[in-house]
């Protein structure tokens, strides 16, 4: 069965005089899909999100939500989507309750009392209803942004660093909530985060953006697989000298910190490598084999940027 396309972007471009912030970017998000947008600082992620929300004008390209042109159909589109970012703020002197009531009115939420109560409960900030925004901790503010983001039962939600500045236990709860919304209501999400394990956990698909261009896209697992090398970490106490000579002689790519060796190897050569160690009478006290992760892939991309 073909998936409904919620957001379709074609050849999106944003230029500031001679500088191109977003360069011919195209993407699609299907119903219930979570798309991660990853890239180094200044890659164009926030610019892209701001254009997709209509708070910045694109130089060129086509944006369609629910098959409706945007920003031409701005009002009807924005009723069905929402946004949360740790980079913005909210009315500083208003209480949590006052802020949410204002936003519920702006989104014309019918059952606003019930909806606000439910979401405050989900995000565990019910007790902060009367608290002024300026007195909230960073984590509480982030949770309030998320409550606002889910007020209007959005079909698509754009989340810019949604769990930044949260304690790990709260971040886990929030990821659980996001997954539940996705599973129960087929909510689609466009997700940016610097927490790679979070992106791996949450996203069905990841796009790597660099200098405003999409340079790669796939599932988090497939992107990680593009790095062929695994890291074999060995603790060699007794035979460390022999081991180091052997690694040098065989020209392995490795690092050493006293007795701890990290050898970088293609995944398919790991078993053979371990056998050779035995045949060379090199005994190790501890071993761990780390497969490449999305973070490794992302770091590789960053390295290319600065090399």
């Amino acid at each position: 069965m073909e998936k409904n396309i919620i957001l379709e972007v074609k050849n999106l471009t944003k230029k500031f005089n001679s500088f191109t912030a977003v360069d011919d970017l195209s993407l699609e998000i299907g119903e219930g899909e979570v798309l991660g947008l990853l890239g180094p600082n200044g890659a164009g992620k926030t610019t892209t999100i701001h254009i997709l929300l209509g708070v910045m004008e694109a130089t060129g390209g086509i944006i369609k939500y629910f098959d409706k042109p945007f920003p031409k159909e701005r009002e009807s589109v924005l009723k069905q989507i929402n946004y949360s970012s740790t980079y913005i703020s909210m009315p500083w002197l208003s209480s949590v309750d006052e802020i949410l009531n204002i936003y519920a009115r702006l989104y014309e939420v019918d059952d606003k009392k019930k909806r606000i109560a439910k979401l405050l409960g989900e995000f565990e900030i019910e007790h902060l209803r009367k608290q002024q925004f300026s007195f909230l901790s960073a984590g509480e503010k982030t949770r309030l942004f998320l409550v606002k983001a889910f007020l209007n039962y959005p079909k698509l939600i754009l989340l810019d660093e949604p769990t930044a500045s949260l304690d790990p236990d709260i971040a886990i709860k929030i990821r659980r909530f996001l997954k539940k919304e996705k599973a129960e209501y087929n909510v689609s999400m466009l997700f940016t985060s610097h927490n790679m394990s979070e992106v791996e956990e949450m996203c069905d698909r990841v796009m790597i953006i660099k200098s405003g261009k999409i340079i790669d896209q796939d599932t988090p697992e497939n992107l990680a697989k593009k790095l062929h090398n695994s890291q074999v970490e060995l603790l060699i106490m007794k035979d460390n000298k022999i081991a180091e000579n052997y690694f040098k002689e065989k020209k392995f790519s490795y690092t050493v910190d006293r007795y701890r060796f990290v050898i970088s190897l293609a995944e398919q050569h790991v078993a053979e490598f371990l056998q050779t160690l035995t045949s060379q009478n090199i005994k190790y006290e501890e071993i761990s084999i780390n497969k490449p992760t999305l973070e490794d892939y992302f770091l590789e991309v960053l390295k290319e940027k600065y090399d």
Binding site: L53, M56, S76, M90, Y103
Partner: protein, 262 residues
């Protein structure tokens, strides 16, 4: 189509901000009261110097009470706009279905409420302390207030246009910008006292006609409807232009990204 629920949401938002913000409460009660005491007493002294003629006192009190309308209408546009920038809330607002026309309407509605509250408060103090009865102007009050509101809104949207384009770097114009037109509006003195070139400028400012007519009522009990009409026509022209200018600057700003203003 303007959605009044969203306009009302913003009116509530700005009312809440005023209630929680001591600076803005000072604007509402403290400053008008102090102005009234200082200038009212000055007017009393002038009245004594001129053998008890209360007209001088009433000219000053009328200036104070009615000028509040222009100032408030302008302030509630520029200051509430700045509040969104100070609170870093502008991006949040415009990622909702809120339209620029609804934002403009909210500024005007809130400005109207606040102007009426502050003007009533000033008028009440003027009555209690100086026996000045604003209702002695009869039905003309409505014509004066409507015209002064239009002047304040028009000027507010011009200044607001610059603020939405250039942001907090020029925020001072939000509260001192009004000083540019105050001397030409002849609030406390007749236009004839101004230098010739300034008189020419003054007659391009709609509020000038209103203050001239307020003084005419005080001294003669009549008004010139022709002058009120000129003021009204100028107001309509300026307000239309200023709203167009504000929307145009908003779009220019959005081209660069509203996120840069926060």
């Amino acid at each position: 189509m303007i959605n009044f629920n969203r306009v009302w949401a913003l009116v509530i938002r700005y009312a809440i901000d005023t209630r929680h913000n001591y600076d803005r409460l000072t604007d509402v009660f403290f400053l008008p009261a102090m102005d009234l005491f200082v200038w009212g007493l000055t007017g009393l002294y002038l009245a004594q110097l001129t053998n008890g003629s209360e007209n001088y006192l009433y000219v000053i009190l009328s200036g104070l009470v009615f000028w509040v309308v222009v100032v408030r209408a302008q302030y509630e546009i520029t200051i509430n706009l700045l509040v969104e920038l100070w609170d870093r809330n502008l991006v949040n607002l415009f990622t909702t279905p809120l339209k620029i026309s609804e934002w403009i309407s909210a500024f005007m509605v809130f400005g109207l409420f606040k102007a009426i509250i502050i003007m009533s408060f000033s008028a009440l103090l003027a009555f209690i302390f100086y026996g000045y009865n604003i209702f002695s102007f009869g039905g003309y009050i409505i014509l004066f207030i409507v015209n002064l509101l239009l002047t304040g809104w028009a000027y507010g949207f011009i200044l607001g246009g610059f603020l939405i384009r250039f942001g907090k770097t020029i925020q001072t114009i939000g509260w001192v910008g009004i000083m540019l037109i105050t001397p030409f509006s002849a609030v406390y003195y007749p236009v004839s006292i101004l230098p010739h070139w300034a008189q020419t400028v003054a007659y391009f400012i709609p509020s000038t006609y209103i203050f001239e007519e307020i003084r005419r009522v005080l001294f003669t009990g009549a008004v010139s409807y022709d002058k009120l009409l000129i003021s009204f026509i100028l107001n309509i022209i300026y307000l239309s232009f200023s709203i167009w200018f504000f929307v145009w600057m908003f779009h220019k700003s959005r081209r660069l990204g509203l996120g840069r203003l926060i």
